[in-house]
Amino acid sequence: MHDTSAHAAQHHAPTSFIRKYVFSLDHKVIGKQYYALALLAALVGMTLSWLMRLHLGWTNLAIPGLHFLSKNGAPANVMTPEFYLQLMTMHGTIMVFFVLTTAPFAAFGNFFLPIQVGAEDMPFPRFNMMSFWVTFLAFIVLMLSFLLGDGPTLGGWTQYAPLNAMGAVAGPGQGLGVVLWATSIALFCIGQLLGSLNFITTTLDLRVKGMSLMRLPLSAWAWFITSCMGLTAFSVLMPACILVILDHVAGTSFFVASGLVINDQLLPHSGGSTLLWQHLFWFFGHPEVYIAIVPGIGIVSHILMANMRKPMLSQRVIIYCMGALAVLSYMVYGHHMFVSGMNPVSALAFSFPTLVITIPATITVLIWVFSLYGSRLRINSASLFALGFISMFVSGGISGFFLAQPSIDIMLHATYFVVGHFHMVMGVAAMFGIFAGTYFWFPKMTGRMMNETLGRVHFWLSFVGTYCVFMPFHYLGMAGNVRRYSSFPEDYLQPLIPVHRLITIAALLTGAAQLIFVYNLIQSRFRGQSAPDNPWQATSLEWSTATPPPFDNFGGKHPVVYHDPYQYGVKSSVGDYVMQASPEQVKTEHEEK
């Protein structure tokens, strides 16, 4: 813990447009840039999912204008099977990397972590700026694959070997498309490594006087734990992507075994390993699930306490649970590979920690739910999404109990059950965390309030809609509906097509509801009611400073922290709370010793 004046970034408020809004070193601007990128990516990803859902419901449907996206992929505007797979790959990649990692971690974390620890900025502002622009470049490179060659790769966001390393001979998009995908993801990894480095040093080195680790808000803890995961997970994925690129351009055979034949031609590769890619990918891939969801756990806890007007039963237990999830996430990755041809004994070894990881997840849910007991719960858009997050986290998490068991996985692997599981727990739940964060922090980020009525309409349509979309996925999976099929010619799948049609209608409506959010965001940004400094009567340091915060966050002052982060349900001179930076001494039963 240090005085920030000695360590914080030594830079001054810029005056030129370029340095203020484009190549800015200010963590707050970079946070907003990440948010804008995530919003753009989410809209692209959602549009792709609409196209996929329309095709799954009505295979031969002509979608007006589809041929603009791909001439070969949509003759007469009807989607081809390969174009479906290309859209699916792009949807998964965009959503996992550029939305679920970018928004809750990089966007909110960048804006609020330095303020919540009381710092003026991150310790390496140039790295921070570079982190965003490298991520932006990664997005551009990924989008370029729509325009170049024969389109994006069709190998799915997991890009399994050896399909990812054979080149154009393996299908449309498997040449240049894969190279662009791997380049984009390697760049993304560099961006997140630079970001993680900044987050870790900010948390450890730039805390103000009085801000002990246990006085950090849970959101700050979540970003810190996530950045530790990011540092280790992305540093494995990046070299793996480089190896894929080398298999394409340098004639290496890291992932292609010998003796493989395509189109009656023996491929000139030898000595590669199919399973090597899966081990490298999932060593990143499973922690990535927690990189997407742990910030949500922290953000939702942070928001809930401000709206319950009381602290959680134990902040410390939630911190330990987030830490346990992070550590265990590296020990469970093999559950993605139960039927992959890996040694079957190791399946049992990966199964046990996967089942054990439900313990910290369950404890977290119990702490949230039973903390509601005896609260004065305020209902607003932010708290509705936070409570919705808990409901989704439970629904999505519980299906993990099935997939953790290798014997059950024999039946459910690669079915829509898995798709339902991960969409609910890391997709929808994480999105609800992002929405809760947006409604809660928007006033601080922009100086204006969001429209509460539109926020509530957005919540209701999203909450009911996402259940209508993703719960039936589980039933389809239990009936054996295989994923990653562009249509269902198999006899046994045909009776399930009406369910797919219902899901498509629900998905279109739920997606349309997100446009209400986008409208609210833009409209409130320019015409919203002016926001006070502390509209929610919250306690952490971001609410101690002006709205929006000045360039150096605290206007040349260095706050001193006197309290634990969530002193709600007390009697003070300002009401039922006392701010972290307030020297006022109040009697409280809740301060953890």
Partner: protein
């Protein structure tokens, strides 16, 4: 609004559980000797997970109903027992569930993967390639001839890359596009990928296993009911993935021998 939200959570929770309780969408009946173990494991997990799901959602809804802004002036209270009680309860309950499911689940897995096939199991080789399965039976000599990938040629129907001229073991090998097995006879499936990753999934058999290019994987099962079942690929293998399938014919021993003779005559 809080009460409406609480009611919505309860309605969604019950509506989500209803199709499961009513068996609206279920896997087709098991036709294997090991499948009942998987089905039992699935049922036990469904009961435990289903009850946890309902309990969590309903308690969440009750607390939202009871402690929402209607009670804004109510006294702040802490749940009796605090965090300690909840942590102990979670570790005890979920821990017991984890141990029970983990331990019992091993048996179903072991039956499929950790038990070797019996010595008299019938060997069948399956080759997966973009976007078809082909099957090979060893013929009268009971031996498979070696594979020569460089000889694979679809135009001449040398689908496995066999060289009967130089390999005597290949001469009586029977290559088919459909898979037939005798009922109640253990089959030892030798899985070989020609190009990229694929998977072998037969819902009724309760069997799913990936093909790994460069690594031969094996699987064994016994089908117990005569009938025709779909074999589908579940590992994304390229543009024709959705259309990669074959049929498994489970035949009586007599019918199977007739089928094999007919296929042998067509080689």
């Amino acid at each position: 609004m809080a009460r409406l939200f609480a009611l919505t959570i309860i309605v969604i929770a019950i509506a989500s559980a209803a199709p499961v309780v009513m068996h609206t969408w279920v896997a087709p009946a098991d036709i294997s000797t090991h499948g009942h173990l998987i089905d039992e494991q699935m049922s036990e997990t469904m009961i435990e997970a289903g009850l946890s799901f309902l309990a969590a959602q309903i308690i969440l809804a009750i607390f939202i109903w009871k402690f929402s802004s209607f009670h804004r002036d109510g006294e702040i209270r802490t749940f009796p027992g605090g965090a300690k009680g909840l942590v102990i309860a979670a570790i005890a309950l979920v821990g017991a569930e984890v141990l029970a499911l983990g331990v019992f689940g091993v048996k179903a897995w072991a039956d499929v993967y950790l038990t070797p096939p019996s010595a008299d199991a019938m060997p069948i080789q399956v080759q997966a390639g973009q976007f078809a399965f082909y099957f090979r039976y060893p013929g009268r000599d009971g031996k498979f001839g070696p594979l020569h990938p460089e000889l694979i040629n679809e135009a001449t129907q040398n689908l496995f890359g066999l060289d009967p001229e130089h390999d005597p073991d290949s001469r009586d090998d029977i290559v088919t596009a459909e898979m037939a097995v005798p009922v109640n006879k253990e089959v030892h499936l030798l899985m070989h990928a020609k190009d990229v990753g694929h998977s072998f999934f037969v819902r009724e058999l309760r069997v799913q296993q990936d093909f790994v290019p460069g690594l031969d994987v094996s699987l064994h099962f016994t089908a117990t009911k005569v009938g025709k079942y779909e074999i589908v690929c579940t590992q994304l293998c390229g543009l024709g993935h959705y259309n990669m399938k074959a049929y498994l014919d489970v035949l009586s021993e007599h019918d199977f021998n007739d089928w094999l003779k007919k296929e042998a005559a067509m080689q």
